[in-house]
Subunit: 363 residues, 4 copies
Amino acid sequence: MSSEFGKILKVSVFGQSHGTAIGVVMDGLPAGEEIDLEELQRFLDRRRPGKSSLSTARKEGDVPEFLSGLENGRTCGAPLCAMIRNSDQRSGDYAGLADKPRPGHADYTAWVKWKGLADMRGGGHFSGRLTAPLCIAGGIAKQILARRGIYVGAHLDSVGTACDEHFPLCPTRELFEAVAAKPFPALSDNDGARMQDAILAAKDALDSVGGVIECAAIGVPAGLGDPMFDGVENRLAAALFGIPAVKGVEFGAGFSAAARRGSKNNDSFTIENGTISAGSNHAGGILGGITTGMPVTLRVAVKPTPSIGQPQKTVSLSAMEDTDLTIHGRHDPCIAHRAVPVVEAVTATVLLDLLLEGDHGTF
Amino acid sequence: MSSEFGKILKVSVFGQSHGTAIGVVMDGLPAGEEIDLEELQRFLDRRRPGKSSLSTARKEGDVPEFLSGLENGRTCGAPLCAMIRNSDQRSGDYAGLADKPRPGHADYTAWVKWKGLADMRGGGHFSGRLTAPLCIAGGIAKQILARRGIYVGAHLDSVGTACDEHFPLCPTRELFEAVAAKPFPALSDNDGARMQDAILAAKDALDSVGGVIECAAIGVPAGLGDPMFDGVENRLAAALFGIPAVKGVEFGAGFSAAARRGSKNNDSFTIENGTISAGSNHAGGILGGITTGMPVTLRVAVKPTPSIGQPQKTVSLSAMEDTDLTIHGRHDPCIAHRAVPVVEAVTATVLLDLLLEGDHGTF
Amino acid sequence: MSSEFGKILKVSVFGQSHGTAIGVVMDGLPAGEEIDLEELQRFLDRRRPGKSSLSTARKEGDVPEFLSGLENGRTCGAPLCAMIRNSDQRSGDYAGLADKPRPGHADYTAWVKWKGLADMRGGGHFSGRLTAPLCIAGGIAKQILARRGIYVGAHLDSVGTACDEHFPLCPTRELFEAVAAKPFPALSDNDGARMQDAILAAKDALDSVGGVIECAAIGVPAGLGDPMFDGVENRLAAALFGIPAVKGVEFGAGFSAAARRGSKNNDSFTIENGTISAGSNHAGGILGGITTGMPVTLRVAVKPTPSIGQPQKTVSLSAMEDTDLTIHGRHDPCIAHRAVPVVEAVTATVLLDLLLEGDHGTF
Amino acid sequence: MSSEFGKILKVSVFGQSHGTAIGVVMDGLPAGEEIDLEELQRFLDRRRPGKSSLSTARKEGDVPEFLSGLENGRTCGAPLCAMIRNSDQRSGDYAGLADKPRPGHADYTAWVKWKGLADMRGGGHFSGRLTAPLCIAGGIAKQILARRGIYVGAHLDSVGTACDEHFPLCPTRELFEAVAAKPFPALSDNDGARMQDAILAAKDALDSVGGVIECAAIGVPAGLGDPMFDGVENRLAAALFGIPAVKGVEFGAGFSAAARRGSKNNDSFTIENGTISAGSNHAGGILGGITTGMPVTLRVAVKPTPSIGQPQKTVSLSAMEDTDLTIHGRHDPCIAHRAVPVVEAVTATVLLDLLLEGDHGTF
């Protein structure tokens, strides 16, 4: 296992859904960075469940305790460890599931890998709950990046077949803040209402629904990243696929670029205010794995929550025979909207790592 | 820079398009594996240019010389190094481009990163030519995997808006071999003809076109990979984005899963011939980052070749002013069909790495 | 920074001497391993200070709390996080030191690196206190190894010029347990008494003294490790130099091999009880980076504690002028005897990592 | 296997003693660095065999061919690959050895690991011949470092019991160059003569002898490296143990520090010419894993060449019985003097990697 990513800034996540605590170690943070804990808490609250009928009723404060790395509100050069104690656990809800792997969850693959010895209560280490420590890391990274004029924002691009608008060519910090302040992370309120309807309709049908998240980072200097396997896309994708339920990642025009001709997909260079820019950004701010200076843009596909209220077909691992399963307990009919800050968090953490690594192109 | 990927099996790629040679080092291969050099050459020939009007006219033998790691046709435990000397270089074709970054290429980002000091003739280290060493690595990985009953195959899923059929739920080795033997890598010959038409139409318009590649691996045992950041998706995506021009990667249903409801996206488990299987494979054979035993399936978006014959707008780096650029020389109107074996190669290499790492779930 | 080591089993250490807590994350432990917490505590107690006049008077319970990875006394497949809250802090003892770097400590280099922004109270993240989490990791590794017949033991080989006996050619588990049970970790009680005298003499002189630790691992199977840069020596040395105050590492005959002739240094192979063995072990159980099956033996040089009661010459960083410094507070006149279990811990952790990686020589 | 080291600058070594070629890939070099090939060749010639009666009679030109990464005499941003074709192979010399592992060599451990499938002719990938590519990498690193005022030098500190002088507290570039220009790498010519006598005496006795190498780097800025497991000592040691026959590594006073008291071992800080310096350097220029700005000093123990002309006891792997072995062919009675430039090379490469990584202490 390696629940860790990063090169200069290494982020290591620990915890199980129903264990004592979850948390994160950030190794490689620069010293002297002030962390605004209230701003961090507001960021964490964006992914927190229990706020509305759109999410699981599980209530958790998600207030991190800092065990190391932070002194007098500033990073101090040592690895930062933050943890959140698990409080509202109802393991009983999951009793009896152990023998019947839930379709779409990691129950079966974990059973194969750990031969039934893993702690899979509530999804164990695979649980979406582990995105809370990712948001601690990402919330800290966002503050450090913002001090350098780099801002990361995201919104829910679609739920099922209901779509939001896309980010404009050059989104602004104000736009990021506006969507972050909304109770539902859509650019267009009308589209947001339709996406919420899609979630509630799935909930009413004892079902769930997936979604797509669009994320952008502005102010990223040109020249970060490397060709081939250490590029910005490689590193972002490797980290983003670590968010539970993510099944696709694309940059810039992504899959739609494959349907285009080159004359329409190439971003022409031009001089704008004395610097080199592009009139379009189908490259998503990345050419040859290296940032262009245009916004870094990406889209992430989140599958529908595997836990649904409808009976499903599965197998009994002990009897090795087909059986039925009905999952009780509390579930999110959609996790895509709650994953919006998580995508921001992971994107910000990877970009901070790239920024810390710097540009080794020349000495 | 790190033109390397892999954990137990490390694959390191070197070379520039117009340098002395390109090549690959594979560090971590098991000893005693017989490598059929004729079979390897047939695999390399699948990506080789100069075979038809669909590709660049650049002709290269692409016959690797093995410098180490292979003795008497078998791997010998030491790192394997193979190289291909560059022969048919026409650097003159690229003269004058240095000052005018080609839209869609890495010229501009390389100029920023290396301050004009990089060897960018023919794309330098960013060139699609570097996929030849990837295919050497992948061709070797494919032979080692095949000996363990694991087969990797791919086909061109779409070109522009022309689409091929998809792989069936459980593709076979024979199907993989059949499509590999075709001059154009489509499952359906009719669809293949339409896709070729799309390429030729783009060529006629002095333009280019993108495409999507579908890849599948069968025989992969359940239990490979790890949760969070060291999962099969993370590792495959990190490597696949190393193929030049790839802008999107999805597993299983991928982005289309985001449009679905959970009841339709979950793959129900069932007992089939005494083993646990699933009646659908929207998960692409991966749950929680770990293989399920179903085929591993993925799709890769390849952008249209940035080099087109039409005049394009760009800037003069020396004058810092807008200018026009017309690219002469030989270019592929589409690289997606040539990237089909490259996607197979990278997928096979990552799977071999995972297989060598084994299952550390329990001792 | 990277306060982490390991390949399959990654061990990440966090905390500062006077911060909230110190701890460790072990990522990659196999599931289902029973951890005897009482045995672990006995191991931790071996390095704990405050037990005698030989050590600092700082008293700490050093009882770890497990935040994740351990359920019902067994590893559960998820990363294991354990922490120890810091209780007996007296930061006041260190007031005023910030401007005067203590000779032999990392104060000056930390000041250069973090520009005075690091938390260096009590040595911060450089403190010997950070060896407590290393012992948690190593104590767990020792239990898992012991279950496979692999035992790791160490003793204090010398203090100043007072020397202990060396381990015999093939030490036994019983010998390891006997020395671990002693209040002072010497093989020979007479030599131990002389080494203790050397420590007390240094203490009386307001001074400190260094020492050498000999460590051995028995039951290690042949074939672990790799040539060149991923060998057993490389990986053990890289980790052992992470123990504060370690300035030298040697394997087998080590530096004394350099004074020998080949005919005396080569270990002849012979058949013993049907298996291949050697009549001597100058190689320290490692040839070409790979284990031979003989005991893995190594020696580690620990410098004298930099903190001494005598006045020392240093500089004022603010005034950039020479000055004097007298360090008050509690210090160990020798840390080498307390580092004995730490060397065992690090050695055991690296060997477990190698064992989990397994032997990829052939498939 | 991982025949690679480095973090930002990755160095990957390939080849077997009697294979087609040996070589190295350097991934992460900055662009635009001029490489003086004649100077590089002079450096390579320092380790080349066949120059005197002190070394093996095997003659090799050791002239590297650059396959990539070097254009018009300058690094070009792409991975640099250099290879040396093997010419003077006499595999016949090694015929029949396969069944009888040579004591002190990796024959037995390789046989266990690769089950007899490795190419072990002439030591295969374990051969000292693989230090030639290390010297290519290190020779390039030395040139890049020298341009930044950082110089690395080494000398033979002892052979058997014959000792050279040690480096002065602050060695100079001129001293490094003077010893590098000598046919035998001793600081004192008298001591050098005695060390050569020791080698010839061993040769006459059909035996071999070990030695110790002292290496120093001057001009290294303070603040490089990190605490715990990513420090300068960890990284240097991990790489230095990759040199065949190295069995011990120590920094500064090393093992002798363990025999000292703190008052004698601590290096007092003082102001010298306006900068902070130390009047002694028992720390070897490294405190807490981080460079102090004083010279980085280290010593490396090289065991006696395992190949000796005397008959030795070993086993027959096929018969599993004791037997005798007499090694014919050409061998070095001592490899320590030839390893002097190799230690310089590895040290320079690691320091360049650290320098490229830079100081991430603050942003």
